[in-house]
């Protein structure tokens, strides 16, 4: 496909207000939306604010919404749009806007700090950790996360209900809780921290109604809902809603 001129609408403004601005801009073969935003910045709007870094889908910086869908600007090829299509680019709509396409994602760092870190096992020194591959497979899937926060942005629990931000950690950090709870060497339970219980009581797991939007938008293809959130819900059920499991845990105490 040779070059053509595309119609873009880009949101510009700040917390005081703003709106969509129209741009006509050149598009060449092989380009991604971030290339076009850079071209607008270089040729028409030098003060257009956009956060970006690696241009390779690995830093998670250039998260935005393209035609209303949360996506990475650098991983969205222009070839998925027709030349006649008007492409709308806005900042993430779940977070406070700073300027133009840049939002304040501080909410996520607050939530990250609320998740207690890995608890090292008592009798092992650094360098002595040994784990079987099958025991770390699950956690390793979650470690692919690039923290683009698209899942946090699309989750309706906080996107549509600002008031839930206090109680709900969001899919990314519930996945972190799941990762630690599945970690073969995490000694949180021995230290008196029950991650299954706190997932529900302190990180708001019950708010999740498993509608899978987090999985749909994940640029790393992590099965957040099926592999992290639902297993974590089942683990919370073990602790809070299943009398048989509770009874079994009282009769027989054995690490699994």
């Amino acid at each position: 496909m040779s070059g053509y001129t595309a119609q873009f609408k880009v949101w510009r403004g700040d917390v005081q207000g703003g709106g969509l601005e129209d741009f006509k801009v050149e598009v060449n073969e092989g380009e991604v939306v971030l290339d076009i935003i850079h071209r607008i910045q270089a040729t028409q709007a030098p003060d257009l604010a956009v956060r970006w870094n690696c241009k390779a889908g690995k830093c998670g910086s250039c998260s935005a919404e393209i035609n209303g869908r949360p996506r990475l600007l650098c991983m969205t090829r222009m070839s998925v749009f027709t030349p006649e299509e008007t492409i709308t680019v806005t900042p993430l709509r779940a977070f406070p806007v700073v300027r133009d396409l840049v939002t304040d994602v501080g909410f996520n760092y607050t939530k990250a700090r609320e998740v207690p870190a890995f608890v090292p096992p008592e009798k092992l020194a650094a360098g002595e950790y040994r784990m079987m591959q099958e025991d770390v497979d699950r956690s390793q899937e979650f470690r692919k996360c690039i923290e683009c926060f698209l899942c946090q942005d699309t989750c309706h629990v906080v996107r549509d209900h600002e008031e839930n931000k206090t109680a709900f950690a969001g899919p990314r950090f519930l996945m972190r809780v799941a990762e630690l709870d599945m970690h073969p060497l995490d000694a949180a339970a021995e230290a008196g921290l029950d991650r299954k219980q706190t997932a529900q009581d302190e990180h708001g797991l019950g708010y999740c109604n498993i509608t899978k939007c987090c999985t749909e938008v994940c640029p790393e293809g992590i099965k957040i809902t099926d592999n992290a959130l639902i297993p974590l819900k089942e683990r919370a059920v073990d602790r809070k809603y299943d009398p048989l499991v509770w009874l079994g845990s009282k009769i027989r105490r054995r690490s699994s």
């Binding site: 949360p70 806005t90 209900h161 509608t211």
Partner: protein
Amino acid sequence: MMRTSLDQGTSDVSDQQGGVRTRTRAAIDAPHLRTDRWWLAPAATAAGLLAFIVYSTWRAFANADYYAAPYVSPFYSPCLAENCDAMRAGPNWDLFGGWWGISPAIIILIFPLGFRLTCYYYRKAYYRGFWASPPACAVAEPHKKYTGETRFPLVLQNIHRYFFYAAIVVAGILTYDTVLAFRDEHYEWGHMGLGTLVFLVNIVLIWAYTISCHSCRHIVGGKLKHFSRHPVRYRMWQWVGKLNARHMLLAWASLVSVALADFYVYLVASGAFDDPRLF
């Protein structure tokens, strides 16, 4: 570059409400800016589920045309009241006696209904399709408040695993019914009709859907911290995981197959169709 007066996307921050229109967020009036047919999936889901609800309600309350030897409708199996049709060696058990006056299907359907109602896939389907919570990803939901599954009644979704246990029993009984379908209308063994094939397909899909359940995945191995210490359960967890990846597909396939199996029995029992015998 052109600055436009915008048909969508501009607003004064002072008149904004909650959600995506919260004062600190990018000032955009439109509840969403999606340009694809995002409404198609929830609309199709709602239509499909509604069709099944209407059909199954009619059949469950009909209390007729559910047995044509050797086939018994999956909606009426096991039949646990005195007013059930006589089924030779069939899944009859007069547990509820004569006081049960309405359709005996109601007694047993509560279990598969509860299993599907609390199923993690169907939850997504009806939260999106019926409750618009959310209607689609990044499309604003219409509700002012949201507490998810933290309160009654939705906190009851957490009993899904108990419905899973019941679903295993029901699937076992439907397997028994499928074995009985290898008789002819005179109860002679070693025969097969088109209905036997319908029952076979149905029971395979019922088992695949039941086993692919997220609670099953947790129970067989997902709850473990160290797979390496439980190699058999690890292998089972992997198998269930492969099925679990197709849980949505199996949910729909088994929903359709159970309705078709019931409809087949209805056609044969009502005399509208003769079961072709294969041998």
